[in-house]
């Protein structure tokens, strides 16, 4: 028993020392730079080494594929099918032309072969369409050593598996606890800090403190996710800031670089606590669930906020839902009717290091955050675009589309006119009716020709 005691205290001492060292390192290398907004470049170094490892992994997989004489499957260099962009009319006419020996006149009629067009188009769309693939995580060209992105990557040799195992160890046993500690620090500082600032008398000092508390806490959260962000062109912001939406993390990324007023729905739980604390320090725009449905109320409050010059620029995501960052979908016109200057921002994530897309039908918020914190890193680029205003001959929808195209072009995303709401709802029947009308014209003409037969 007496022999055990010195060992016990030795272990306890060692534990104590290592924890203190860890904590100091944490403080010095992560939290202090966050407070002052400087960076040691550790994350960039980390990113570079990861890229080298991924390149090596890809080479090995390609070698494995060559040995078996197969081609390595790459989702973007090989699409599934090649589509011809011909219209309904042209296609059906061609089918009929090849089948009939009658003279080529444009008399509308029905042929049994017409169905070929429909079933082929249907099959093509089932195999590859523009919209459904935007609601699931972007596929990677090559494996990034995470089991969650392993959709049938084959030729994974023993060495790669070992590397993957090592990665799991590092991510779950080292990075995850570190990140959770940081996130916890960041959020508690935010709540405490903003509450304290709320007690200050209104004035320049309060604004100054509020701004810096917000920025500091967002920067700590950025480090909690190991987010490596590259900002491009930073003009002054004001009015309304709109951006494409991929995940709730977008907010953290943008807010760590600029001081915004948030717009959103009041939540319960932890989110609610944070929201209530934040609004004490400076005016954010939070809506009750019932108020969200009332578009006029929403527009009125936003307009009031925007017109008050003393208030902060607001941050809005007009898509209304999370899209997987390969495209930009329809912008809802509400924010474009207010009449303020719009400052567009494009955000593009690099999926190789960790997929930031929140598939809300598949994962809840907590699962999502855990997945974020166990990825390698979140790497993204943010482009601040020059401000845009609505022109005299444009309506809100056209203005929204113009802003959307600018964002899509800058971020290298596909510009789609489809509504992001299709994630959860079916397509409106009007689209089907349009096609039916087109086809009817081909069969019976425009009620002029064959009304009697």
């Amino acid at each position: 028993m007496f022999l055990l005691l010195p060992f016990d205290s030795l272990i306890v001492n060692l534990l104590g020392i290592s924890l203190t060292v860890l904590f100091t390192l944490l403080l010095v290398f992560i939290i202090v730079p966050a407070i002052f907004g400087v960076s040691f470049g550790i994350r960039k170094l980390y990113m570079k080494s990861l890229l080298k490892i991924f390149a090596w992994a890809t080479l090995r997989m390609e070698r494995g594929a060559k040995e078996k004489n197969h081609q390595l499957y790459k989702p973007y260099t090989n699409g599934i099918i090649a589509k011809d962009p011909t219209s309904l009319e042209e296609e059906i006419k061609e089918i009929r032309r090849s089948g009939s020996s009658k003279a080529l006149d444009n008399t509308p009629e029905f042929e049994l072969s017409d169905i070929f067009y429909f079933c082929r188009k249907g099959m093509e769309t089932i195999m590859d369409d523009e919209v459904t693939k935007r609601f699931s995580a972007e596929e990677l060209e090559s494996w990034n050593l995470l089991s969650r992105t392993n959709y049938n990557f084959q030729y994974i040799s023993l060495r790669l598996t070992v590397l993957w195992g090592l990665g799991v160890l590092i991510r779950y046993c080292f990075l995850l606890p570190l990140r959770i500690a940081l996130a916890f620090t960041g959020i508690s500082l935010l709540v405490v800090g903003t509450t304290v600032v709320g007690y200050l008398p209104n004035g320049r000092f309060k604004e100054f403190m509020s701004k810096h508390v917000h920025l500091m806490c967002y920067r700590i959260c950025v480090r909690a996710l190991t987010a490596i962000i590259t900002y491009h062109d930073r003009p002054r912001n004001g009015g309304i800031c709109v951006a494409n939406h991929t995940s709730p993390i977008d907010v953290i990324i943008l807010a760590s670089d600029g001081y915004y007023a948030m717009v959103g729905q009041v939540h319960g739980g932890l989110m609610g606590v944070i929201q209530r604390a934040m609004v004490k320090a400076c005016p954010h725009v939070w809506f009750e669930r019932s108020e969200v449905k009332d578009r006029h109320l929403v527009a009125k409050r936003l307009t009031e906020h925007v017109q008050d010059k003393s208030k902060l620029p607001i941050l809005i995501f007009p898509e209304g839902t999370c899209i997987n960052n390969t495209s930009v979908m329809m912008f809802k016109k509400g924010s474009f009717e207010i009449g303020a200057t719009v400052y567009p921002v494009a955000i593009k994530y690099d999926p190789q290091f960790g997929d930031a897309f929140w598939n809300s039908s598949k994962y809840g918020m907590v699962t999502y955050l855990l997945r974020m914190m166990t990825s390698w890193a979140i790497v993204c680029s943010v482009w601040y675009l020059p401000p845009m205003t609505r022109e005299a001959d444009e309506d809100a929808v056209q203005f929204a589309n113009r802003v959307k195209s600018a964002i899509a072009r800058q971020g290298g995303l596909v510009d789609l006119l489809w509504d992001g709401g299709l994630k959860r709802e079916k397509v409106k029947d009007t689209f089907k009716e349009e096609q039916q009308k087109l086809y009817s014209k081909m069969i019976v003409g425009n009620h002029k020709d064959r009304s009697r037969s």
């Binding site: 081609q71 099918i81 017409d114 195999m127 693939k133 089991s147 969650r148 959709y151 039916q436 009817s440």
Partner: protein, 168 residues
């Protein structure tokens, strides 16, 4: 964490599908990805008709271009799914709703109604259906059998119109 072993395609299954449908290795992998992303319920089937991946591939195989068969000419094997005859049979089954190997006037009307929506009146549609059956019917049973169907479409370039260009 996040193990997807249950949804990975096994090698044996891949080989079987390859033999049955004629798709290449990478094409099948690619289509499997697509199938799993469409399969929201993650139960291995697509809703509506509960099509599993084999059924999915079998249906898609009808749309392979016929030229692709030149490489794997198996004279003793069953007719490939994408032969001209099988493509025509696929289209025939789209019309033949009750699967009795005959397209009756009612079935034709139903399919026509789906294609034109509300834009054409019942009488007009009825006369279109009558005319079509009249032109195709040869044995006088007021319905179109598969042989009659094939005869009507004998000049149509089925190979091209019922084929999708798959990329390798």
């Amino acid at each position: 964490m996040g193990s997807r072993a249950s949804t990975l395609l096994r090698d044996e299954e891949l080989e079987e599908i390859k033999k049955e449908t004629g798709f290449s290795h990478s094409q099948i992998t690619r289509l499997y990805s697509r199938f799993t992303s469409l399969d929201k319920g993650e139960n291995g089937t697509l809703r509506e008709d509960q099509v599993n991946f084999r059924g999915f591939m079998r249906t898609l195989a009808h749309f392979r271009p016929i030229e692709d068969n030149e490489k794997s000419k198996d004279v003793n094997g069953p007719e490939p799914l994408n032969s001209r005859s099988n493509k025509l049979h696929f289209a025939f089954r789209l019309y033949d709703l009750d699967k009795d190997e005959k397209i009756s006037r009612d079935e034709l009307l139903q399919v026509l109604r789906m294609m034109v929506g509300v834009n054409i009146s019942d009488e007009q549609l009825g006369s279109i259906a009558d005319r079509t059956i009249q032109e195709a019917d040869q044995d006088g049973d007021s319905a179109i059998s598969f042989t009659e169907f094939v005869k009507v479409l004998e000049k149509v370039d089925v190979e091209q119109k019922m084929s999708i260009r798959f990329l390798h």
